[in-house]
């Protein structure tokens, strides 16, 4: 439950940054936080109290595996999601870099030329 609440909190904090912060760097940080929150949430969904990590080459896990380990699928998914998150953050940061190098500012106010 704690994971659950924490992850939702993380997502909300991230969302808050995206909605309110006027600095593009902070918006990117917000996105990253949301991403992390989602990952924690996924892990917590597969988590079952009292069970261990789904690594099957440990000896006593070889029998009755499914009743001894947590759900392995969310963890596998999260691995992928983390990789994707890194990629998105990298792209985001490079876009921010380019934006900064053109206008020398990170204020979102200055990036409203496309509208209406």
């Amino acid at each position: 439950m704690a994971f659950f609440v924490a992850s939702i909190l993380l997502i909300l904090i991230g969302l808050y940054a995206v909605l309110v912060k006027r600095n593009i760097m902070k918006i990117v940080i917000g996105l990253s936080l949301m991403d992390t929150g989602v990952n924690v949430l996924i892990i917590s969904l597969g988590f079952i109290r009292g069970r261990t990590a789904p690594i099957v080459n440990i000896k006593d896990l070889l029998v009755n595996t499914s009743s001894k380990v947590v759900d392995p699928l969310p963890q596998a998914l999260v691995l992928t999601a983390i990789v994707i998150g890194v990629a998105v953050t990298a792209v985001a940061l490079s876009i921010v870099m380019l934006m900064y190098s053109k206008k020398k500012t990170l204020e979102i106010e200055e990036y409203k030329e496309l509208k209406w």
Binding site: V88, V91, I95
Partner: protein, 1047 residues
């Protein structure tokens, strides 16, 4: 069958490889890039071909890693997926071609890689059979797209990419969360597996919420209102090639997966979700584009609107409570819409790349210089705006008829949006076709795409007329329409085109002759064919500027009218009506009045869409008398016909459209095309209304006709442009026909049909004569003419007789029409209408005299000294048309007898209300008149006077033009004597309040107000990424809160 994983694998591998290759050799990297896309194109095409030919019978299931589903990841490629894959790589390939033609963006290698990744991701989205895999492909697509958008030369692209990235990240967070929760709730990620588990419909609120999360994420990617600000910014700022790939291909993959998700996770409230967001997006965006000045953003709004329509369609397609036949029809409409939009829109974006200016006003003149550009631009614009024969047109019909009757308000919404689309696309088209030539960049891809659209139209048209929908049509008509288009290829020589057109028309008469039967259809067919043949004769030699597509369009107008009058169902009336309208738009647009053509297009489209709505409301499409189904369908259907007849207050297009269309086309426009409105109104009176039920409506139309006659005549009196004067006059005369029709008595219809032919003869004659005059004099401005009687005696004689017929003076054919009409009016007891009509007839004398005086009488101007008689084809046609004018004057029965035969087939009209007496002539309840006697009398008096003058001519002294000093003043120039300018000025001052342009001001006001509102509404796209994110949260809350309905 090729394993679809090959497409994904090869593309991915070569994307990596290109990254290495381009470090060493750029050229080879390009070649390799192109080869990869070509390979993908071929392979996906092969698979698609397999599906449509039936060689691949069931969906291809690809197990990845050897695990069978639901454990392992899998690809599932059915017909739709294969089609979409093919679409994606077709557009990718064309985009790549455009890149090579235009020059690649920098840094080149990275752009190539990302381009491959984007097409690969989109393909993956459509191919995948697994929800988590879907998320992965969504991310691949998105990351590639962010990078590609940012790589544009435009500085603003970075900003667009950033906004796209923020909103895209939120959207994929939704998808990811939804997918994971879905796994938690169902224990599976495999689409089919989950679908099997949820086959009975979603019954728990938690599952409904999860489904909505995924759908919300996809809806953001599908650019629904109001979370589409990012998309519009991307469309405006990014490299058009990237935009083409995004809007044309990637978004369609999202759409497919949206439909699949909604299908696999059968959410009870999906229908309303789609209806709300699809409908809102569609309508709002169509209006937001209304006054958009940036071309790319305009196209963006249009894209968003099309997507909205697709979402709306998906709602109907997936709703299990509708009949399977209508859902199938909707599916077909969706396929056509996707195809149409993907190709036409990517073509337009690529074309936008060729014009340096972003502002729409900078596009002035782009069509004039480059025929290839013109071809691609016109095809794409027409295709998107739903002009026949392009797929968009048929998609609209299918979509509308697939909507069940209890959702008819959706039909209204769709048609309203379609009208707005016509308004702004044709405004765009008008601006592009105005002005002189302007240089545009090279483009190879857009002409290719346009040709593809054109080629694809053929099987679509074929399908519509034959198996799927079966719009009934005489096969001859389709053949003739096809042949007509071929005349275009003789473009080098107008003479050759003219001869070929005459040949085609003669063949048309030959093949359609058996259909001329004594009924309403046959009557109008005869008018179209024979009238058209005569008027076609007069189009030679034509002005030198005559466009090479003049004759094809002319023939298409003719044969679509033939198809129209031969229709047996309302649907076929609509289809041919639209073909006629759009072909005539092209013809009018060839003249100097581009704005006039635009207004014509808008009014035509408004009428046509109203008609489509009305037809939709009819329970039976066949043209046969039925029960009365309320006034609304009748009113809606009539609108189209009233527009074409230019009945007040729908007349404001007519003056300039007639006046500024090519002189070769105006006779057809006035003489025959306006009669299609007469034909249609007749159909409405006969088949939609019944004799009793329509009484009030008909009375109203009677008044509309009378007021049209009155006001148009009044406006004609003060008109100083020959063709515009004739235009007003023509519209006013058609008002009389409408009065006759509205009477719905045998006498009234006799008058109406008689006047139909009569109007064709004298109006054809007048416009042909006008063409001859303008050809010789070089202007249509009346004060610059005068005294042409000696220079163009034949034309004078023809005009004189035509005017006598027009004014309804005996002994020519016009008198019979007037006599019949007034008899009918008095017999019916519509006294006030009679008074107004009389007034209008009297006023008509004023402009009749004006034509004669200003053109032929008065003083010859110096610059017209060397004017010659009209060219021989025009003179020939004048003579041909004079014959029936005189013959019908003496023997009106020659026409009245066939009309009575036509009417005798209509219940209630068997007794014509008059009879023929040997001595008294035509006898009605009110009196009698012997046309032959009158003719003899008039001709006799004329001859008598002639003889008198001939005998006394010895005493006549001929004087020079200026030899007429009076009051001590000696005129020096012909202008001093000519009062063609400002004729009737006193009268004008007296009736100034009557000719105040109230109606056009109202229409203009409506246009401006809608534009102003749209412009205000667009401000919600503030350009601020925080606001955009706030909209996302807002609609997510709405979606999750309002649609968690469970059955």
């Amino acid at each position: 069958m090729v394993n679809p994983i090959i497409i994904i694998g090869v593309t991915l591998a070569s994307a990596f490889f290109i990254g290495i290759l381009q470090v060493y050799n750029r050229i080879w990297a390009r070649v390799f890039f192109f080869l990869t896309l070509a390979f993908d194109f071929l392979v996906s095409g092969l698979n698609f071909y397999g599906f449509i030919t039936g060689k691949i019978a069931k969906p291809i299931l690809v197990k990845i890693g050897g695990f069978p589903p639901p454990i392992g990841i899998n690809l599932l490629v059915g017909k739709a997926e294969a089609a979409l894959g093919f679409l994606i790589f077709t557009i990718a390939l064309l985009g790549a071609i455009h890149w090579f033609v235009r020059g690649l963006p920098q840094p080149e290698g990275k752009a190539l890689i990302l381009f491959l990744l984007l097409s690969l991701g989109a393909t993956g989205i459509s191919f995948t059979g697994d929800f988590f895999n879907l998320f992965v492909f969504v991310e691949i697509t998105s990351i590639a797209a962010y990078g590609l958008v940012a790589s544009s030369k435009d500085e603003r692209a970075l900003e667009a990419a950033f906004k796209y990235m923020v909103i895209g990240s939120i959207s994929s967070t939704f998808i990811l969360l939804g997918v994971v929760f879905l796994y938690k709730a169902t224990g599976s990620l495999n689409m089919l597996d989950i679908a099997g588990k949820l086959a009975g419909g979603i019954s728990s609120a938690v599952l409904a919420l999860i489904t909505l999360m995924i759908l919300a994420g996809l809806l953001i990617e599908l650019e629904v209102f109001p979370v589409n600000g990012w998309a519009l910014d991307v469309y405006q700022g990014a490299d058009p090639v990237v935009v083409a790939l995004l809007a044309g291909a990637a978004v369609k993959a999202f759409y497919l997966v949206f439909v699949k998700t909604a299908h696999y996770l059968p959410l009870f409230s999906f229908f309303h979700l789609a209806l709300l967001f699809g409908g809102m997006t569609y309508l709002v965006s169509q209006f937001f584009a209304w006054r958009q000045r940036d071309v790319r953003r305009l196209l963006g709004y249009s894209s968003v609107a099309q997507l909205g329509l697709l979402i709306l369609a998906a709602g109907f397609f997936l709703n299990p409570s509708f009949s399977s036949s209508s859902r199938l029809m909707m599916g077909l409409a969706m396929v056509l819409l996707v195809f149409n939009h993907s190709f036409a829109k990517s073509s337009l974006f690529l074309l936008a790349d060729n014009v340096k200016e972003r502002e729409i006003d900078g596009w002035r003149g782009v069509l004039a210089s480059n025929p290839v550009f013109k071809f691609s631009f016109s095809t794409s614009v027409f295709s998107i705006a739903g002009v026949p024969p392009f797929p968009g047109f048929w998609a609209k019909i299918l979509l509308i008829f697939a909507i069940p009757r209890n959702y008819s308000w959706v039909v209204g919404l769709v048609l309203l949006g379609a009208l707005a689309e016509v308004v702004y696309y044709f405004r765009f088209y008008r601006i592009a076709s105005e002005g002189e030539g302007k240089k545009v960049g090279r483009n190879l891809a857009s002409p290719l795409i346009s040709s593809l659209i054109l080629i694809a139209s053929v099987p679509v048209v074929w399908g519509m007329f034959t198996d799927k929908i079966h719009i009934p049509v005489k096969p001859e008509i389709l053949l003739l329409l096809g042949i007509s288009l071929l005349v275009y290829f003789l473009g080098a020589s107008r003479l050759l085109q003219w001869i070929a057109s005459l040949g085609v028309l003669v063949y048309g008469i030959y093949s359609l002759y058996p259909h001329i039967k004594p009924d309403l259809h046959g009557f109008f067919l005869a008018l179209v064919l024979f009238g058209g043949a005569v008027l076609l004769l007069a189009t030679y030699p034509g002005s030198k500027k005559l466009s090479s597509s003049f004759y094809p369009a002319y023939l298409v107008v003719l044969f679509s009218m033939a198809g129209l009058v031969l229709s047996t169902t309302w649907l076929s009336v609509f289809v041919f009506w639209e073909i006629m309208s759009w072909a005539s738009f092209l013809l009018i647009n060839m003249g100097k009045g581009k704005k006039a053509a635009w207004i014509y297009a808008v009014f035509s489209a408004a009428g046509a869409y109203a008609m489509l709505g009305g037809i939709y409301l009819l329970p039976s499409l066949s043209l046969a008398p039925g029960k009365f189904y309320g006034l609304l369908p009748a009113v809606l259907i009539s609108l189209a016909f009233l527009v074409k007849m230019a009945t007040s207050p729908l007349h404001i297009w007519a003056r300039d459209a007639y006046g500024e269309s090519p002189d070769e086309f105006t006779p057809l426009l006035s003489g025959i095309m306006s009669k299609m409105g007469v034909f249609g109104s007749g159909l409405v009176f006969l088949y939609v209304l019944t004799a009793l039920s329509g009484a009030g409506f008909r009375y109203l139309l009677g008044w509309a006709g009378a007021l049209t006659a009155f006001f148009m005549t009044l406006l004609a009196v003060f008109q100083d442009d020959l063709k515009k004067l004739l235009a007003y006059s023509s519209v006013g005369q058609v008002g009389y026909i409408l009065i006759g029709l509205s009477l719905f008595t045998p006498l009234g219809w006799n008058a109406a049909l008689y006047h139909t032919v009569n109007h064709f003869i004298f109006k054809g004659l007048l416009f042909v004569a006008a063409a001859g005059i303008i050809y010789r004099v070089g202007t249509s401005y009346l004060p610059h003419m005068g005294g042409l009687i000696r220079r163009m005696p034949l034309t004078f004689f023809a005009t004189l007789l035509a005017i006598i017929a027009l004014a309804g003076i005996p002994p020519l054919s016009g008198f019979a029409a007037k006599w019949l009409l007034y008899s009918a009016l008095i017999e019916k007891g519509w006294i006030f209408i009679t008074v107004v009509a009389f007034l209008a007839s009297t006023l008509a004398f004023l402009y009749c005299f004006k034509i004669l005086h200003a053109v032929f009488l008065g003083q010859l101007q110096e610059e017209n000294e060397n004017v010659k008689e009209a060219p021989w084809p025009i003179a020939l046609v004048e003579v041909i048309l004079l014959i029936p004018l005189g013959v019908l004057g003496a023997f009106p029965n020659l026409l009245l007898n066939p009309i009575n035969k036509v009417l005798s087939g209509i219940p209630g009209m068997e007794n014509p209300g008059f009879h023929y007496h040997k001595a008294l002539g035509i006898v009605s309840k009110l009196g009698h008149w012997n046309a032959f006697f009158l003719m003899v009398f008039f001709v006799g008096s004329f001859l008598l006077a002639l003889v008198f003058f001939a005998l006394t001519s010895a005493r006549i002294r001929k004087v020079g033009q200026l030899d007429v000093g009076y009051s001590g003043e000696v005129p020096r120039t012909p202008q001093d004597l000519h009062f063609g300018y400002g004729l009737y000025d006193h009268f004008r001052r007296a009736v100034k309040w009557l000719i105040y342009p109230l109606v056009s001001k109202i229409w203009r006001g409506i246009y401006e107000w809608i534009g102003a509102f749209a412009e205000m509404g667009r401000r919600i796209y503030t350009g601020d990424v925080n606001t955009y994110a706030a909209y996302v949260i807002l609609i997510s809350i709405i979606i999750l809160y309002a649609f968690t309905g469970v059955k």
